[in-house]
Structure formats: C-alpha cells, structure tokens
C-alpha cells in the first residue's frame, strides 16, 4: 500500500490573550525581527498546551512536532481530550490555516468536512444550494450534476428541492448538507464530528456511508469524534493526541484503550470526602487474584472489584448495583447484591475468560430497589483486558463484542 499522507514535524502555535489590536509596537517589533530572518521573539519554544498550568509565554503550541504517515484506504480516527489539538490538526490538514512549522504532503485530492452546509445561503433553493455548497467543497459543476439525483435521494428532500432552504426544518437542512458532502469524490476525506447531527436513523445512515466509502471505494478517511463506539467501528487505526503532541499511533483498539486509561487513576477510586448525608461508597478497587491492585488483566485472569462502604450509613433493604461499562461507556452487564449492616467490604468476582480484550470501567450505585438511589458513581476505575492468546485473538483489532459469553457448537 502506498502512503498518501505524510506529515512531518507539523506544529502550530497560537497566541493567547488579546491578539494584537492596540499593540502595534509589538507587531512592528515582531515584523522587523522576522523580516531580518530572526526568530519571532514572542514565540518561545517548548511551551506545550497544558491548559491547567500557567505558562510563562503568550504563545502555546496547539500542535507540536506531529509526524505520521497514512496509507491508502485506511480510516484513521483521531482521539484526544478537548483541547488536545484534534481540531487544529484537522484545520491544518484541510488548509484552513497554515502550520507554524513543518509540512505535510498529500497524494490525490483532499476534501475536508469540518462542518456540514458551509456556505448554504438561506434565500437560495435546495437545488441552488447543492451546487453552491458542492462547489465550495471543491466539486466541478458537471460532477455535481451527475450526482444530483443521488444527493437529493440520500437527503430525502425531493419535494422541497425548489424551496428556499430557510423554509426547511433543521433536520432537512442538515440532511441535505450532509448528502452533498457524502457524495464528494476525493481520494482523501477529512471529517470532523459532523455525524453528531440529525436523528438516530440518519446518523446510522451517515456512519454506513462513511464506512462504505473507506471499505469499498478504497478512500482514505481521517475522522475525529468523541463517539468511541463509532470510531472503533469505522477506523482501523487511531492517533492519540495529548496536549498537542502525538501520544500514540496504533490500531484503533489499542489507542482507544490507552485513551481510556489515560483518563483514569489506576484501578482505584477513593472518595475525597464523605461529608454528604447518605453518601456511603468510600473506596472502589480493581484487584487481581493475588490481591494486588492493578488495572491491566489478561483475559484468562479473574478480575476482582472490591467496594468499601461506610458501615454506619448502610440502610435497611438497600443493595449495591454494579454495571460494567465498555470503552464507549455502553453498559455491558449488571449485577447486584443486598447489603448487610454488619459488613463494610463487598467483593465482586468477574470470571476468567468472560470479558474480551478492551477497556472497561465501573458504574456503581447503592439504592433501595424500586424506591430511590442513595449513592452513585459513574465511570470510575478504568481497567484494561488484554488478549493475545484466545482463539479469537487472531482477529486482531476487529470489534467482535465485549463478552465471550457461553455458547456451544454442535
């Protein structure tokens, strides 16, 4: 497979605070230095984009020394917390803004979809907007004409095609906008979280379209989304960004796992204060069969979850309810046990060879069944299950579900 995108030492700096205006002297000073080929005096190197700490320069690196290559036909997901540089990377790659340093090279035509319906004019009809929007996205007129019926059909707005789009419902508007974008004919497609539009049905349709684009048509896709489930379904590889730097570039399962792990403490949750009236979960730990606290398990190991409660606050008829969540926060299975006023520690054993490889977390609550919740903690204690030896491990990164289940072949 040939490399179609090559990114080399790509960096992008942003200025913090007030930009220019009223600071003409600083502008002139900078301009004068740069004009003589000296480095920008206000651009200090080495400042990374960590929002929580106060830096000593007005410039931050939103992207720093990003290097990667993407092969033809691959769908690559870009993951990272808010502010990690995902959108900046997409903006630079789609040429909306230029890099501060470094460069990237592209083979084939590249089209970006940072927003749907860019340039839609409310006074123009659906038909006119399809052409205008298509042209803005880089299509030639005859290309749009040849796909026109397909676009209208995909959007399902045939009756309204000669009505100004300002009279469209917001759903119709978005569907039409996405339909235009989905029919772009470029070898490389850059997509921001535009799938967060429309109703569930339409989202599914969009995801399906994206998937077929990369799988059947051999096109390369770069995709940013917070929806880890759809990323895992669409992409084969993932790029994890952290404070503007590339933390890893690997198979999507691996990267999603790392991302999830990065976000949490290692396999333990300790309640910082228990002053609340009824709050009674004090500590949650993930431990292995030897009793050590850990956050990584082989699929053939038993996993123990230990819950420590405040004895005095345990109420009559209350129980503890635990759900295991997967990397995209979907609930996989529930389990529950009745609490005993005399007992403060409860341990749940998850059988070996039950969870498939991936990243998991815990959602736990204490409640009086069918009456009310007492204490609740969502998405704590992330842990990872690795699998290099099961029969299914030969399928690599393919998403085949979260539990091995119990079934028999005859």
């Amino acid at each position: 497979m040939s490399v179609v995108i090559k990114v080399e030492q790509l960096s992008k700096a942003y200025q913090l605070g007030q930009i220019s205006s009223g600071n003409l002297t600083q502008d002139i000073e900078r301009w004068w230095k740069v004009a003589r080929g000296k480095p920008d005096p206000f651009l200090k190197l080495g400042e990374s984009n960590d929002r929580s700490t106060k830096g000593n320069s007005d410039m931050v690196w939103s992207l720093k020394n990003i290097d990667f290559e993407i092969e033809q036909g691959q769908a690559v997901g870009i993951i990272g917390k808010n502010g990690a540089g995902k959108s900046t990377l997409l903006k630079v790659l789609s040429q909306v803004t230029s890099p501060t340093m470094g460069q990237f090279k592209v083979k084939g035509r590249i089209a970006s979809l940072l927003e749907v319906g860019t340039g839609f004019h409310p006074e123009l009809t659906g038909r006119e907007n399809i052409f205008l929007n298509g042209a803005i996205l880089g299509m030639r007129k005859k290309e749009i004409s040849s796909k026109f019926d397909e676009i209208v059909d995909f959007a399902g707005v045939e009756r309204y095609i000669d009505t100004p789009v300002k009279r469209y419902s917001s759903g119709m508007y978005v569907r039409l906008a996405f339909a235009v974008a989905a029919h772009l004919e470029s070898e490389i497609l850059i997509v921001d979280e535009v799938l967060a539009v429309g109703d569930a049905d339409f989202q599914k349709k969009c995801l399906g379209k994206m998937g077929s684009v990369s799988k059947n048509e051999g096109r390369t896709i770069l995709f940013v989304s917070h929806n880890l489930a759809s990323l895992m379904r669409l992409c084969q590889k993932g790029i994890l960004l952290k404070n503007g730097e590339m933390a890893s570039y690997d198979s999507i399962q691996e990267v999603v796992g790392q991302y999830a792990q990065n976000e949490s403490e290692d396999g333990v949750f300790v309640r910082p204060n228990t002053e609340g009236d009824e709050v009674n979960i004090l500590k949650v730990e993930v431990i292995n069969s030897v009793g050590d606290r850990t956050n990584t398990f082989d699929f053939s190991e038993e996993i123990f979850l230990r819950f420590e409660l405040e004895k005095l606050k345990i109420q009559k008829h209350s129980s503890i309810f635990v759900m295991i969540l997967d990397a995209s926060k979907r609930r996989i299975f529930p389990t529950e046990t009745i609490l005993n006023k005399e007992k403060e520690t409860y341990t749940l054993k998850i059988n070996r060879k039950f969870l498939t490889r991936g990243s998991y977390s815990i959602h736990v609550m204490t409640h009086i069944p069918n009456l009310r919740a007492i204490d609740e903690l969502e998405d704590i204690c992330r842990f990872t299950v690795v699998d290099n030896t099961s029969e299914l491990s030969i399928h690599g990164g393919y998403d085949y579900g979260s539990v091995f289940g119990q079934s028999h072949w005859n």
């Binding site: 090559k6 942003y14 200025q15 930009i19 220019s20 205006s21 502008d27 903006k91 630079v92 789609s94 040429q95 909306v96 803004t97 230029s98 890099p99 501060t100 340093m101 470094g102 460069q103 990237f104 090279k105 592209v106 083979k107 084939g108 035509r109 590249i110 089209a111 970006s112 940072l114 927003e115 860019t118 340039g119 004019h121 006074e123 123009l124 006119e128 052409f131 205008l132 042209a135 803005i136 996205l137 880089g138 299509m139 030639r140 007129k141 290309e143 100004p164 772009l184 004919e185 470029s186």
Partner: protein, 287 residues
Amino acid sequence: MYQVNQSKDPSWDLVVSSKRDLFDFRIKEVWRYRDLLALLIRRDFVAFYKQTIFGPLWFFIQPIFTTVIYVFIFGKLAGISTDGIPMPLFYLVGITAWTYFSDCLIKTSTVFVDNAHIFGKVYFPRLVMPLSIVISNLVRLGVQFVLLALAMLYYGIQGVELGTSWYVLLIPFLVFLMAAQGLGLGIIVSSLTTKYRDLALLLKFGVQLLMYLTTVVYPLSSLNGTIKTIVAANPLTPLIEGMRLGLLGEGSFTFSDLAYVSGLTAFILLIGIVVFNRVERSFVDTI
C-alpha cells in the same frame, strides 16, 4: 474537485509547509475553481432581488435618484459647470462609474470578516471571493450602462448633439482598470482589517471624501492650479474623464494618462494580491 500541483517533488500532489513564496499567486488554482466563481456571482445576483417586488429594477432606481439629487444640488444650486453636456447625462456617467468603483472597494474590503465562517471551515483559493464580488458588480454596472444608453437615446431624439467618439471603444478597458483598482485597494484593506478593525470604518469615510477628489460632480477642465494637479493624479479621474470623452465627447483624457493609470493599477493590484495571499494563510487564527 481540484487541487493544484504545487509540489516540486512530482510524487506528491500537494505539499503544504509553513513557508510559501511571496509571489506564488496560485492563479491556476483560482482558475480551477471557476465554477465556484460563477456560482457565487449567481448567488449574489439572485439573493439580491429575491423577495423584492421590483427585482432587478432596483439596479436602476439608485442611479436615477442620485442623478436627480446631483442635478439639483451641484447643477442648479451650486451652478458647477458640466462642460456644456446635459446635466443628467454628465452626472449619470460619473455616478455609474463611481458606484462601481466604490462598491468593489467597500465590499471587497470586508471579505475576510464577512466570510470568516466559511473560510474557517473549508479551503478554496480565497481570492475567488473578492473576484466574485468584483464580477457580480460588473453585472450591475452592465445593467446601469443600459440605463445610460437609454438616457443618451432620449437626449439624442430631443436633438441634443452628443459628441460620442471612438474613445468609446476604450470603455471596457477603463472598466477593467477601475475593477482592478477597487479589487486591489479592497483586498489590501481587507487583509489589514483582519487585525485592525478601525480600517473598515475609516474606509467608508475615506471613500466619501475620495469621491470629491474625483471628477464625479465636476469636470477636470473646471479646475486650476494645485487642486487640478491633485485631482488629475487621482488614478480614478482619467478613467471617468475618459468615459465622458468616449460617450459624451467632453473630457480631459490622453493616452499618457492611460499609461499612468495602467501602471499604477498594476502596482496596486500586485501589492494587494501579495498582501492578501500572505494574510489568507492564517487569518483564521486572528479574526
């Protein structure tokens, strides 16, 4: 779908780096986006008269009323000479030409700020936007020339002798120069307004003053001394004088004026494109 081969290394179709040649105009790329240019022009035109009763008739109403007012104020009250040309015709030529220039200038001067939402989301050669403004104004100018022709026909039937001359053939070129000046100045201002918004405010005021330094409401021949030198140095003056000479037979216009204006226009446009190309690369970060 079109992306220019900007790469020197033939195995890559596109290379984007932090540095770009100052004189890399990427005119080829603009050409590849000509369909977009055409659609934007159409959009401007259609959006202008949708939901109006008179539609394209509005293109006539503004010059007619302005002419009536100028006839009254500058012609009747102030008694400024019109070189013996019927007042409405004299002013109509000036207004038609001036409106075109000032529309080009004012509308292109806000092109970055007005289109920030589009520019921030998708890439296409930014120059397409100001070009579409200049060209869609050209459509408007064409309609207004029809009005001018009707007015001339009316006066011709009335028996007024109009000295229409062969200079009339120069008009397309004069219009082109006017467009180039409006575009050049407009994109310089628009590039600077991405950082210093004051300029946009200054411009509106400046354009009004500039009109009085141009021979819109008076002929160049009515001036003397220093003021005449200043007005004659204004690159717009020979253009309007030239149009009057061609259409109405009166105007101070020579070919050396034409050479002067052409040179100056080329210079303004060059500076404009260089500045614009520099700013377009990262203005999204500052706007």
